[in-house]
């Protein structure tokens, strides 16, 4: 079907080209005759002028008719066809006018030349030129003119045509016959020429069709190429966008990719990998060994082994390692890679990723530390709660025992044999109070009385006592840092810490040794962790207590500061010493670091934050044995009846007017009923209403009334109730009658002094 349509199209196009060619030929021939006819008109005039310029009669002459005929008749025969040839080339009327005009010009020229037989060739020549039109009809028109000419002349002037005075009509065909003879062959020639022209047109049509086909194919292919180019450009843009996204994703994840051509031993990597390792672009394609230079030296062997293992077994390469960056920074990298094998099973390539997990690792470490810290804190909290709870009740009991035994001593004579017993009771009470204090200390819940102090003074003040404590087999060496910074700590507790450390050192050197106590200023330029606690960077004062004793294993070091952990034999240690030390130091904002090696010795380094303040005297002066008295009115609020009774007894014995209340509500009731008191002594932790809340209510009812808090409970609990603020007076349980009496007097006196000012 397609071929048939193509053939029809080609035939149609061939006909069109044939027609165009014919029109071109006709127009060309028209223009040709336009020139020929003008030329032959001029030639006719010239012939007339030359051959028959004048007609004679005797000696008279006139212009010959031929001259007029050449000019006017020839002009007439020429003008119309030439005009048409110029204005209407290609039209049928033009070429027929040309044919008629040309034949008439032939006849005219024949006459102008005297009927010369040679001039008759003009007719045949004109027919041949007319055949240029490739139109047999033109030849017919021309032939008709010839025939009509002969027919007319043969009829009217037979001699001029046939050379006889009379001739039959058929003789006109004799002359026309020669014309027809030529015309016949010209027509044959025209047909042949037209056939060839059509063949050429058909070839051209086929060429055009082929060209159109080729052009269509080219256009189609060009369109396909353009579409493919557009698609490729779009794909390239999408690829670029995807690569940019991948690069951005890699950058955000700090995840780079790499590829190791095992056969060529060339390693290529992504931009992020280059950035992560600080690689140089010129290193792209370098051998694996060269890339190993960027792995931390301590991890290279392990990474090589992991790579070799993956190549050998085909298992995924998974290896965390440290990277050593050009600036010396160490990062932790998480490496993953798959092994690509060829048809023979040979490992030819590894494609993998590397992710900077430094932050993650740090976060994990921080989390682990936090968890450890939390666990430790929870443990200490549990112990602290237990210790605090025990201490609260225990302190109340000790307060009662200590108080009443003290009162009893005051009432006994100096020589009374019972005095010694009561003094033993009081000694036991003090040891119990110390034990309670240690319980609170290691749980970091004891009430500290921090001061700004110089550790050099503290240590030097203890030297004598320490030498006695450690014995003669152990040499005590002290080294005091010059211009030592001040620290804010409870001096008594710090003495407790030093003493505990010294005792431990002594026990670690059973066969003697050297105990060194050193102080100094330390600047920590980065934070550090120990036992789950972070010590922030900054200025610290170091107190180092070192011995060259038996040292400790890592196992022992791991549990060193845990309460009730001891390596000493039964009865030799409570397991609270170092725990107490750690609690005191921690509560003071410091930290303890331990450095120890078995059989080499141990060094405890205590770091306390340095403060810029004037040194305060750490020592406390001896207490005045004479108990102060007073006449002021005091309200004692205490839920524990024995303590309440002790307090009221002590105060009444010292002259005070005392009322008592079991809790805050009862106290408020007494005040509300008009009771006026110079001082309210109240326990902090009480059922229904805390001492702090009671204080707030009293301040509204009787603003002038001073309040003294007392508690045997923990630091945190008291802080929670807000009574440890400087503006409040506070007395820690257990207390002796003397301490209690002095604290009451001091509080009342402070209030009086404040009013006076």
């Amino acid at each position: 079907m397609k071929t048939r349509e193509d053939a029809q199209a080609i035939a149609k196009r061939a006909a069109e080209l044939f027609r165009e060619q014919k029109e071109a030929i006709v127009q060309h021939t028209d223009r040709l005759f336009g020139r020929i006819m003008l030329w032959q008109w001029v030639a006719g005039i010239a012939a007339a002028v030359l051959l028959s310029p004048r007609a004679w009669s005797g000696t008279q002459s006139t212009i010959h008719l031929h001259v007029f005929a050449a000019v006017f008749l020839g002009g007439l025969f020429t003008a119309f066809p030439v005009l048409l040839a110029r204005t209407r080339p290609g039209q049928a009327v033009t070429r027929h006018a040309v044919a008629v005009g040309q034949m008439l010009m032939s006849a005219l020229l024949i006459h102008l030349t005297g009927g010369r037989i040679e001039t008759h060739f003009h007719v045949f020549g004109s027919l041949a030129i007319l055949a240029f039109y490739r139109d047999w009809r033109v030849l017919i028109s021309a032939s008709a003119v010839v025939y009509v000419d002969h027919l007319v002349r043969g009829f009217f002037w037979p001699q001029s045509v046939y050379g006889v005075l009379a001739a039959p009509v058929w003789r006109s065909l004799e002359h026309a016959g020669w014309v027809i003879f030529e015309v016949t062959f010209l027509v044959i020639s025209i047909r042949k020429s037209l056939g060839e022209t059509y063949t050429v047109a058909e070839r051209q049509a086929r060429l055009e069709a082929m060209k159109e086909g080729i052009e269509a194919t080219v256009a189609e292919r060009t369109e396909e190429l353009q579409r493919e180019n557009a698609e490729r450009r779009q794909a390239e843009e999408e690829l670029k966008r995807s690569e940019a996204q991948l690069a951005e994703a890699q950058h955000m994840a700090r995840l780079g990719s790499w590829e190791w051509d095992v056969m060529k031993n060339q390693v290529t990597w992504s931009e992020e990998t280059r950035r992560l390792y600080g690689l140089h672009p010129e290193d792209l394609g370098a051998p694996m060994e060269q890339n190993m230079d960027h792995v931390h030296p301590d991890d290279r062997a392990r990474v090589r082994e992991a790579l070799a293992e993956s190549l050998r077994t085909g298992q995924m390469f998974v290896c965390d390692h440290r990277a050593l960056l050009p600036d010396g920074t160490v990062c932790i990298m998480h490496g993953l890679a798959n092994v690509i094998r060829d048809d023979q099973g040979r490992a030819v390539k590894m494609i993998g990723t590397t992710q900077d997990v430094t932050e993650t690792k740090r976060a994990e470490e921080a989390l682990r530390r936090s968890e450890e810290q939390l666990r430790q804190a929870q443990k200490m909290e549990a112990v602290g709660r237990l210790a605090g709870g025990v201490a609260h009740d225990f302190n109340n009991l000790l307060t009662v025992i200590n108080g009443f035994s003290g009162l009893s001593l005051l009432s006994l004579r100096a020589k009374d044999p019972l005095r010694k017993n009561l003094e033993e009771v009081q000694n036991a009470t003090e040891r119990a109070a110390a034990l309670t204090s240690q319980l609170l200390a290691f749980s970091r819940k004891q009430v500290l009385k921090p001061r700004v102090l110089n550790l050099n003074n503290v240590v030097s003040g203890m030297e004598k006592m320490l030498r006695r404590l450690i014995g003669e087999d152990i040499e005590l060496s002290t080294s005091f840092g010059t211009e030592l910074g001040r620290v804010k700590a409870d001096p008594g507790q710090m003495e407790q810490v030093i003493m505990n450390m010294a005792v431990n050192a002594r026990d670690a050197m059973p066969r003697g040794g050297k105990l060194t106590i050193r102080t100094g200023n330390v600047l920590m330029d980065e934070s550090s962790f120990f036992r789950g606690r972070e010590m922030e960077k900054g200025s610290y004062v170091l107190l180092a207590i070192s011995d060259n004793g038996v040292g400790m294993t890592d196992e022992i070091k791991a549990h060193l500061f845990e309460p009730f952990f001891t390596t000493k034999g039964v009865g030799r240690g409570t397991g609270l010493g170092l725990a107490t030390c750690y609690g005191i130091v921690s509560q003071s904002g410091g930290d303890i670091r331990v450095y120890s090696e078995p059989n080499r010795g141990t060094s405890f380094k205590i770091y306390l934050p340095r403060v810029d303040a004037a040194t305060a005297a750490a020592a406390t002066g001896p207490q005045d044995e004479a108990l102060p008295t007073g006449t002021e009115s005091v309200l004692v609020v205490e839920d524990e009846a024995a303590v309440r009774r002790l307090a009221t007894t002590v105060l009444r014995d010292r002259g005070y007017q005392v009322q008592e209340a079991r809790d805050g509500a009862e106290a408020l009731g007494i005040i509300g009923e008009g009771g006026r008191f110079d001082l309210v002594v109240t326990d902090v932790i009480m059922p229904k209403m805390s001492g702090k809340e009671l204080n707030d209510r009293i301040k509204r009812l009787a603003p002038q009334t001073k309040v003294l808090f007392m508690s045997g409970y923990t630091d945190d609990a008291l802080a929670l109730h807000g009574v440890l603020e400087p503006e409040f007076a506070f007395l820690e349980k257990p207390f002796s009658p003397g301490r209690f009496a002095r604290k009451v007097r001091e509080t009342i006196d402070t209030a009086i002094l404040a009013k006076a000012c």
Binding site: A55, W56, S57, H111, G114, G115, S160
Partner: protein
């Protein structure tokens, strides 16, 4: 369509004008010239000698008539056709008032170049009047006994070469082939001022 009509009209006018012009030209060319009375016997007073051994042909010509060239060319062919049986004398009109060179022009030379032709000047047309010639190209043929055999032109038209009744008749007479044609129209300029003397 209007243009076509105009074109047809113009073509028609063109053809008509051409036909009229051609008709006039043909009319001119085919209109015979005038002639006088030609004696049936060779005039005794004729100045030119009559050939005694055969037919004698005399062609009267105007030396400047362009139409006469066709007559001379036909004479040339005729003599060649007769193959020496015929001689001819061409008498060119020579006005007495003009010099002798007036008649000696291209036609004179052409005639003189034809073998068997004797060229002579006919002063003031004396011989022409004697033989009744009034149109250039007028030809007479007398036999050996001086009897008139033919009179008229030997061209088919004025200044037009080609077969003509006159030339064929002369050739037949000379060749003794027998012919009834003894006269033929003559076409040419007036020989002695009678350019278009009426025919008989």
């Amino acid at each position: 369509m209007r243009n076509v009509h105009w074109l047809v009209c113009i073509a028609a006018v063109w053809l008509v004008l051409g036909a009229v012009g051609f008709w006039a030209l043909l009319k001119y060319e085919n209109t015979p010239g005038g002639r006088g009375v030609t004696p049936s016997q060779w005039p005794a007073e004729a100045q030119i000698a009559r050939r005694t051994g055969g037919p004698a042909l005399i062609l009267f010509a105007h030396p400047k008539c362009p139409c006469t060239r066709a007559s001379l060319n036909e004479l040339n062919r005729l003599l060649a056709r007769c193959g020496g049986k015929l001689t001819a004398t061409v008498l060119f009109f020579q006005p007495g008032a003009r010099g002798e060179n007036w008649a000696r022009g291209a036609l004179w030379n052409s005639a003189a170049a034809i073998p068997g032709v004797t060229v002579r000047a006919d002063s003031d047309g004396t011989e022409a009047r004697r033989f009744g010639a009034a149109t250039s190209g007028f030809t007479v043929l007398y036999d050996a006994e001086g009897r008139l055999q033919f009179e008229g032109g030997i061209t088919p038209g004025r200044g037009h070469e080609g077969d003509s009744a006159g030339a064929q008749a002369i050739a037949s007479i000379v060749g003794r082939n027998g012919t009834k044609v003894r006269q033929a129209p003559v076409f040419g300029c007036g020989l002695m001022g009678l350019c278009r003397s009426p025919g008989r």
